[in-house]
Amino acid sequence: MRRARIVRARRITVRKEAVAVTVATHAAAGPAPAPRRPRRPRLPFLLIAPAAVILLLVQAYPLARVAALSFQSWGLAQIFSDEAAPFVGLENFQRILSDPLFWAALRRTLVLTAAMVSLTMLFGVGIALLMERLPAWLRRVVMSVLVMAWAVPTFVSTQVFAWMTQQNFGVLNHLLGLGQHNWYVNPVEGLSVATAVVVWGAVPFIAVTTYAGLTQVPGELVESARMDGASGLQVLRRVTLPLLKPVLGIQIVLSVIWDFQVFNQIWLLRNASPEPEYQTIGIYAYMQAYQGHDYGYAGAVALVNVLLLAVVLVVYVRQLIRMGDLA
């Protein structure tokens, strides 16, 4: 009994110290001590080994296979005849680059990704900040609803949205008083519905993780900024957001990756048969190559996909890694 109390007392002191140290670190705003050289040099390798092995097996090796495939002609004939797949050099890549559908799909994908990521981040971070300001009961309600929405598989949420936007019996036309409006004849409207599904599904993830990050922002820091006369917006810009930067950074990177590859939502909204005006890179790749059993070409499209994303993200990822050293 007494012992427990002592332990608890110690824990409290430790906590307080934590505050002091964290605040001090953040307030100093200078770089925190960089990760140090370990005393046992093999230790970090042991620590990353499990993750590394899994990633090598499940992602790196298949990626290498895909890369090799992209220089081959590899289709049904090769699969079933045991012939070695012939190397065709850059032929698959030439085919991609000379296809106007590819370029149209690329443009569409870039626009959609930008729209989806910015809307997701805007709502996600906004809701996280809002949750901080809500009374506990409502925060709990919002959190439960978000996690519940997050738990709905995309293929289900897409079906629900499809049903809600159904021309004759959809609840959306009913609530908006639009009569028998068809949401899918005009691709801009149809893709807006797709964007809504994606954003609806992605916001809970951003909101919950941002909120987890927000809880790590020391209250003292905010209060002292307040006392210095900073307005709410200034606190947000000068204190909260900079501290959230690492979390937001990885969220944006992952969102770009995921939204760039968006597939399910559009695929299902268009009855597994998207018109050319609805095709994103992911769908284009699937329809042109994958369903055509042309795995060499599919590999090339995937590789082009990776390169495009890498170009978009390389600067950002570098920044993230550097930031990690400062945090």
Binding site: A64, A68, G75, L76, A77, I79, F80, S81, D82, E83, A84, A85, Q166, Q167, N168, F169, G179, Q180, N182, Y184, V185, R270, N271, A272, S273, P274, E275, P276, M287, Q288, Y290, Q291, G292, H293, Y295
Partner: protein, 426 residues
């Protein structure tokens, strides 16, 4: 990487050589043990699981030490999974493929030739021609017809009776008159379709082309395929299709036919044109069992011939033995046990057509389908037709026509060019 590939190729060549020397066909000794893997589509799991069990039991009698594993696949991804399994050396011994999917795989050499074993399968002299054709490549048989399905008009007797019609129409004029009566009766309901006919349903649209004397594509004397949607026959057919849609369908024209039956259950559609499987869904577990007595079928009358009917699309499935299977004899024995007359009756009861002309549904509700058998068509036997399907060229063309985005002429012209490029690709 390259060295490894070369090694793999060498190993493969070696294996091939060994296989060619060994007497593979007769090696399945009745007492030998082993595992036989069968891939069927989910219909078998949902509609006739007992038939599958009985088949496995029958095989067990003949080969007591063989363990059969039946795995069920879904339509959208099963071919990619088959490709992957074949590459990994774990392809099934027996596989079901849709009749429109066979061409590509037969051409690639995926299946064992069955021409010499034809006699092992029941009803082999009375197979439905469209199905047998789909399992035949360059005159050789590579699959056994599994079941078939054609199309007919499904209607609700009670809704027709409300406008005083008790016998389904047998002429185009009669059909149009019926549509107009139903429209007038339900004029106040903007969600009611006299004839549910959305754009993304090629097996409802293309029959009109065949009715007008056209077809999807034909092989020219130069050995190249000509797509023929933009021929005068094609255009006439699609205009007739569109006129029925304009007259009878109120709803989303960009969708497919899969919600037709539930719309009918809800009383929001009086007729639609589809397979018997869809007809059975109206009063099945997902529909309303009380409607069973209210559903009938009839053959779609022709808009171009006074007493004629629209030729129906005939689809279905075939079952094949994979060329790499190490158990050719067991595989054939399993198929023979599975596709006997007794099973065919189970398929017919589930709403499909048997693989043989010898077994015809006696159910009066199937009348439209039995009548439609008189004149059926199937897709062109081009090995690349699968690519046309995968690229949704026909579906997109039909949706553009249905929504009025393009005229029939412009849409078919563009569609034909795209189809020819695919069909004549290497």
């Amino acid at each position: 990487m390259k060295a490894r590939l070369l090694a793999a190729a060498a190993a493969a060549a070696l294996l091939l050589g060994v296989a060619a020397c060994g007497d593979d066909a007769g090696s399945d000794d009745p007492n030998a043990g082993g595992e036989l893997t069968v891939w069927l589509q989910v219909e078998a799991q949902n509609l006739w699981p007992k038939t599958v069990e009985a088949t496995n039991a029958k095989l067990k009698e003949k080969y007591p030490n063989v363990k059969v594993t039946v795995a069920y696949q879904t339509w959208p991804e099963h071919l990619a999974k088959f490709d992957a399994a074949a590459q990994a050396g774990s392809a099934p011994d027996v596989i079901e493929l849709g009749s429109t999917e066979m061409g590509l795989y037969m051409a690639a050499g995926a299946f064992s030739e069955l021409t010499a074993h034809r006699g092992e399968f029941e009803n082999n002299t009375t197979w439905v021609k469209a199905l047998e054709d789909s399992a035949t490549y360059q005159g050789k048989l590579y699959g056994v017809p599994y079941y078939g399905g054609d199309r007919a008009v499904i209607y609700r007797k009670d809704l027709l009776a409300e406008v005083g019609v008790t016998e389904p129409p047998t002429t185009w004029a009669g059909l149009m008159e019926l549509v107009n009566k139903l429209n007038a009766k339900h004029a106040g309901d903007p969600t009611f379709s006299s004839f549910f006919l959305p754009g993304q349903h090629q097996y409802a649209a293309m029959p009109f082309i065949y009715d007008a004397g056209g077809q999807a594509a034909k092989l020219g004397a130069d050995g190249k395929w000509d797509a023929t949607f933009s021929t005068p026959e094609g255009i006439t057919g699609l205009k007739n299709w569109k006129s029925l849609m304009d007259a009878g369908y109120k709803g989303d024209r960009t969708i497919n036919d899969l919600t037709a039956f539930s719309t009918m259950v809800a009383g929001k559609a009086a007729m639609f044109y589809d397979s018997a499987g869809q007809m059975k869904k109206v009063f099945g577990a997902d529909g309303d069992p009380k409607l069973k007595e209210q559903i009938g079928t009839f053959r779609l009358p022709s808009p171009t011939k006074a007493d004629g009917f629209v030729p129906a699309f005939m689809g279905g499935s075939d079952i094949a033995v994979t060329a790499k299977s190490k158990h050719q004899e067991w595989a054939r024995a399993w198929i023979a046990a599975y596709l006997g007359s007794a099973s065919q009756q189970a398929f017919v009861d589930a709403g499909f057509l048997a693989n043989t002309k010898g077994i015809v549904p006696s159910d009066p509700q199937m009348k439209g389908y039995v009548d439609s058998l008189a004149d059926t068509w199937t897709l062109p036997p081009a090995k690349n037709w699968a690519a046309v399907e995968k690229n949704k060229i026909v579906l997109n063309m039909l949706v553009d026509i249905a929504t009025g985005k393009q005229t029939v002429e412009a849409a078919t012209d563009a569609g034909d060019k795209a189809i020819e490029a695919l069909l004549n690709a290497a």
